[in-house]
C-alpha cells in the first residue's frame, strides 16, 4: 500500500521541482500503471517509494512505514516488503540465475532449506525452470527480466514496483511480461508499473495514474492512456 499526501520533491543540486503537491493512493492488491512523459516525475515517485530519495515536504506511507521519518538503517526493512524491477534488469553478472534469486532470500536471513524449496518454485512460476545454472549474459532480454521478476517475487513482497520493465523488450515479450504481472497480481501482490508505453497500457484494463510536470493529471480505473508521451 502506498499513500502520498501533498508530496513535493525539489532536487537540491539543480533546484528542479520534480513533484509538486502530489496526492496518490495505491491500495493493497491493486494493479496500477503510472504513466507520463519523460521528466514528468514517474521515476521520482518510484525512488520515493523505495527510499532512494527523500521528499522535500508532504507525507509518504509505504507498506505501513513512514518514509519521511524513517531512519536510513531501517530502509532495508521497507525494501523487503517491496520487489523492485528495473528496465536494465540489474542482475549480478557473476552469479547464476539460481544465485541471483537465492541471494534476495539470503539477504533476509532465509535458511538453505527454505531457499532450496522456494527458488525453484519461483523460477518455474516465471517460466525459467531449467535455466538455473545459466549466467545473465547467457539469457535473452526477456529471460533476464524474468530473473529480475523472480528475484523480486521470491520473498513474497506485498508490492512489486517495476520501472519501465519492458523498455528493452520487443512487443511480444513485453506483452508476455505484463501477463506475468497480471498473474502475480491475481495471487494477491500489489503491482505498480511505471511506463510510457501507451499501447501496452491500453491493452490492459487497469487503473492508470497519469503524471505530468510533477502533478497528477489523471487517475482512471480501467481507463485508457491517451497522453502523448514523446
Amino acid at each position: 500500500m502506498v499513500r502520498m499526501n501533498d508530496v513535493t520533491k525539489v532536487y537540491d543540486s539543480s533546484g528542479t521541482v520534480a513533484l509538486d503537491g502530489v496526492d496518490l493512493t495505491i491500495n493493497e492488491g491493486e494493479f496500477v500503471f503510472l504513466v507520463g512523459p519523460s521528466g514528468s516525475g514517474k521515476t521520482t515517485i518510484m525512488k520515493l517509494i523505495t527510499g532512494e530519495i527523500r521528499a522535500t515536504s508532504g507525507s509518504i506511507n509505504v507498506n505501513d512505514f513512514d518514509m519521511i521519518k524513517i531512519k536510513r538503517r531501517k530502509l532495508p526493512k521497507v525494501r523487503r516488503t517491496l520487489g523492485v524491477i528495473f528496465q536494465d534488469y540489474r542482475l549480478i553478472e557473476n552469479m547464476t540465475v539460481y544465485d541471483n534469486v537465492a541471494f534476495a532470500m539470503r539477504v533476509v536471513g532465509a535458511s538453505s532449506r527454505e531457499i532450496k524449496k522456494r527458488v525453484p518454485y519461483v523460477l518455474e512460476l516465471v517460466g525459467l525452470d531449467g535455466r538455473e545454472k545459466r549466467f545473465p549474459n547467457e539469457l535473452s532480454g526477456g529471460e533476464q527480466q524474468r530473473v529480475a521478476i523472480a528475484r523480486a517475487l521470491v520473498n513474497s513482497p506485498r508490492m512489486i514496483v517495476a520501472d519501465e520493465p519492458t523498455g528493452n523488450l520487443d512487443p511480444v515479450r513485453s506483452l508476455e511480461l505484463m501477463l506475468l504481472f497480471e498473474k502475480i497480481n491475481e495471487m494477491g501482490t500489489t503491482i505498480l508499473v511505471v511506463t510510457h508505453e501507451k499501447e501496452l497500457v491500453n491493452a490492459f484494463s487497469k487503473r492508470v495514474i497519469t503524471i505530468d510536470g510533477g502533478h497528477v493529471t489523471g487517475d482512471e480505473t480501467g481507463g485508457y492512456f491517451t497522453h502523448e508521451t514523446e
Partner: protein, 295 residues
Amino acid sequence: MRLSRGGYLIREGFRSIGTHRFMSFASVTIIMACLIIMGSVSLLSVNIDMLIKDLENQNEIAAFVDDSIVDPEAAEALESSLLAVDNVSSVEFVSRAEAYDNFVNRYDEAIMEGIDETWLRHRFIIHLTDIALMAQTKAELENVPGIAKVVARLEYAEAFVTIRNVVSVISLVLIVMLVFVSFFIMSNTIKLATFGRREEIAIMKMVGANNGFIRLPFVVEGLVLGSLGGGLAFIAEWGIYELLTGRLVGTLTGSFIKVVPFRSMALVVLAFYMGTGILVGAFGGVNAIKNYLKV
C-alpha cells in the same frame, strides 16, 4: 546473525576474490610493493642506527686513578664506585703495568727508553649507555674519590649524537612520508577494486540487504588479500635483505660494517607487514564501499 548466514558471507568473500581475479591480484601486488618499500627504508634505518651505536661504543672515556693509590688491587676496588655512576654501562680496569705494556706494544720501544710503569697511572676504560650525556657523566666521574682525571672526547661524542639525530629525523620523515603515500596508494587501489562493484552493492541494497550483510564479504576479502600481501611482502623482503646484506658483507669483508641479522627482526617485520596488510585490506575495503552504501 545465523551461523549459516555468517558462513555464506565468509564464502562470498572468498568467492569474490576468485571472481574479481585481476583486481585481487592488483590489490595484493600494490600492498606488497608498498610494504616492501616502507619496510626496506625502515630496515635500512635500523642498520644505520646500529652502525652509529656501534661506532659510539668505540668512543670510550678514560678515568685515571690518583697517584697516591699505587696498589693495583686498591685501584681496582674503585670499579664499583665507577659502575654506580649513572649512564656507565661497563668499566674495564687497566693497571699501570698493563698500560705500559700496551704503550710498548703500540709504539717503538726506543720512545719508552728511560720511562717505566711508575710514570703511568692505573686507569679505567669506561663505556657509556648514552654518549649524548658524556659531559655530564664525565663531571660525575671526576667527583668519584680516588679518580684524579677523566679524559673524554666530547667533540667526537657531539658529532656522533648530531649524526644520529640527523639520521633519525631523516629516517622518520622518510618512513612517515612512505606510510602516507603507501596508505594512499593502497586505499586507492582498493577503491578502484570496489568501484566496479558499486552496481552489485546497489542491487544488494535494493533487495533489502543491510549494511552489515554487504560489508562482511568485503571485510573477509580485505583480510585475505591484506594478509596475503603482507605475507608475500615479508617473504620477498627476507629474500631481498639476505641477498643485499650478503653481497654487502661479502664486498666489505673485514670492514667495520655489520648488519642486523634478519632473523633477529623477523617477528617484528612479520607482525608489521601482516598488521598493516590486514588493516589496510579490511578497513580499506569497508571505507571504499562506504559511499555506495548510502542508497
